[in-house]
Structures are given as structure tokens and as C-alpha cells.
């Protein structure tokens, strides 16, 4: 084909002008498997130019407590969906076995290995990435009081400890996700 057949240049629409979108995610769970949905979605939102606020409350508070955030656990107990990560098969361990000593440790290690194999960072490193990308982290005042911790005990990327009313005010017009 000759040059004359060339179509006009197409420029992708990256939608820069529409990025007044704000996403706020409330992280209320402290188990390892429930920490990741907010981290993955929040990180993706930042990569799409969306303003992001993460609010850590109740058990989710452990995601930003310096002494606990690297040691979140995953328990298969009570999770009837739990099966081994193999395709085309449903290999399960009876629920009665799940609460036995060592099961949580084993399941946690398996999950961490799987995440690492997919190059998904541990919680702390993931939060580093989110903060570097402009995401803001907020700690719940009530959870801080209940846990008897202050800013010195929290992950360094946390902006502040705020109360519920602050959070509601701050997220006016934002899209909200409760995890």
C-alpha cells in the first residue's frame, strides 16, 4: 500500500480532563486475604489518575500498625469456598480440620508464596507504592483509641488519625467502597 492510503493519526483519549474522580476505600478487615482487594484496586485507581483515600478501621487497622502489618494471617477456618489453587479440580480439606494448630500458618504461607509468585508485593511494600503514587492513608481515631496507639506506632505513610466525621467530610462526592 502507498503512503496515500494511510489513515489520519489516532491519538488515545487518556481522559485527563475527566479525572476529578475520587475513590475512597474503607479497609475494615485485618486478614491477609482481605487486605489485598483494597490494595490492588486502590493501586489500579491511582494508575488511572483517580484520587485515592484509604481509611483503616477496626481489624483493617492492623494493615497500618507498624508492629502487625507484616504479619497478617490467612485462616481457612469457616471459609467454605476454600480449596487448593488447582485448575479443574475441587480439592478441599474438611472444615473440621481447619481450626487445628498450624493450619493458619500453613495457609498464610501458601497465600504469601502465591502472591510472591505473581510478583504482588507484601502489604508494607504495596502501601509504599500506593503512597508514592499519591494515595492517602487515614487511620481511624476510634480504632487508634481502642488499640491504644498513636501516630508513632503507625506505618510512616499514614497521613493522620482522623475521626468518622472527618472522613465523611473529606470524601464528599467520592465513590466509596467498604471492604
Amino acid at each position: 500500500m502507498s503512503d496515500t492510503s494511510a489513515a489520519p493519526m489516532i491519538v488515545p483519549d487518556f481522559g485527563d480532563d475527566e479525572t476529578d474522580r475520587t475513590l475512597a476505600i474503607i479497609c475494615s478487615k485485618g486478614s491477609l486475604d482481605m487486605a489485598y482487594p483494597a490494595l490492588v484496586l486502590g493501586n489500579a485507581a491511582l494508575g488511572e489518575g483517580v484520587e485515592l483515600h484509604l481509611f483503616f478501621t477496626f481489624w483493617g487497622f492492623d494493615m497500618i500498625v507498624d508492629s502487625r502489618m507484616d504479619d497478617l494471617q490467612f485462616s481457612p477456618a469457616g471459609n467454605t469456598a476454600m480449596h487448593f489453587p488447582v485448575k479443574d479440580k475441587s480439592i478441599r480439606i474438611p472444615q473440621a480440620v481447619m481450626p487445628l494448630p498450624g493450619m493458619t500458618g500453613m495457609a498464610t504461607k501458601m497465600l504469601k508464596d502465591q502472591l510472591e509468585a505473581l510478583d504482588i508485593p507484601p502489604v508494607r511494600e504495596f502501601l509504599d507504592q500506593i503512597v508514592a503514587a499519591g494515595g492517602q492513608l487515614w487511620a481511624c481515631q476510634m480504632s487508634a483509641d481502642m488499640n491504644k496507639v498513636d501516630m508513632d506506632d503507625l506505618y510512616e505513610g499514614v497521613s493522620d488519625i482522623i475521626n468518622a466525621a472527618d472522613f465523611i467530610t473529606m470524601t464528599e462526592g467520592a465513590q466509596l467502597l467498604f471492604i
Binding site: V11, F14, E48
Partner: protein, 104 residues
């Protein structure tokens, strides 16, 4: 796939305007692609683009922002400064590569 002319070269692009043929890309084209989205290429922009090109050649897929930091050595914060708002998409567009597939 449409064919379009960029910097005097006929290249294949997809419906969004991303180049679809790895070997049709060159630095002159990258300058034009960057200008299209309001970016003036500097040495640091080239560092990102060169890493993405080499990494794609080795791995067969476009590096995510996380990989550009951990393997390419360009911090996330800087990637957002160089390719504002949507670094993953913009970097791959300028580098003549598909958008990253990975979630992280």
C-alpha cells in the same frame, strides 16, 4: 488494524492509536507520540521508554509501573511525574507497546 503515518513512517496502530508492531517503532515516532499527549521527552522519559522496550523484548509483555520501579530502577513517584495521571498507559503508548496486562 489501521495504518497511519507518524513522523514519515507508515505504522500499524490499534483502534486507540497504540502501535501494534514492535519493530515499526523508532525514536522519532516516540517523540511524536509523546507530543500527542503533551509530553516533551527528556533523558528520564527515555530511560523509562528504553527499559520498557528492552523488557518487552525479553518478557513478551509490557512492564507494569511496579516492574518499572523494581527492575527498571525508576521510582513510582518519578513515573507519575514524567507521565502524569496514567503512567502505565502513557509510558506504553510512547514506547509503542500494548498497555500492561497485570493488575499490579
Amino acid at each position: 488494524m489501521p495504518v497511519t503515518s507518524i513522523a514519515g513512517h507508515d505504522v500499524h496502530v490499534n483502534d486507540e492509536g497504540f502501535l501494534t508492531e514492535y519493530d515499526e517503532w523508532n525514536r522519532d515516532i516516540a517523540e511524536v507520540l509523546a507530543a500527542n499527549i503533551g509530553i516533551e521527552m527528556t533523558d528520564r522519559h527515555w530511560a523509562v521508554v528504553d527499559f520498557l522496550r528492552e523488557d518487552f523484548k525479553a518478557k513478551g509483555e509490557t512492564a507494569t509501573t511496579r516492574r518499572v520501579q523494581n527492575v527498571g530502577g525508576i521510582p513510582t513517584k518519578e513515573q507519575f511525574a514524567l507521565f502524569p495521571k496514567k503512567p502505565g498507559r502513557k509510558m506504553s503508548y510512547v514506547a509503542g507497546l500494548p498497555k500492561p496486562k497485570g493488575c499490579v
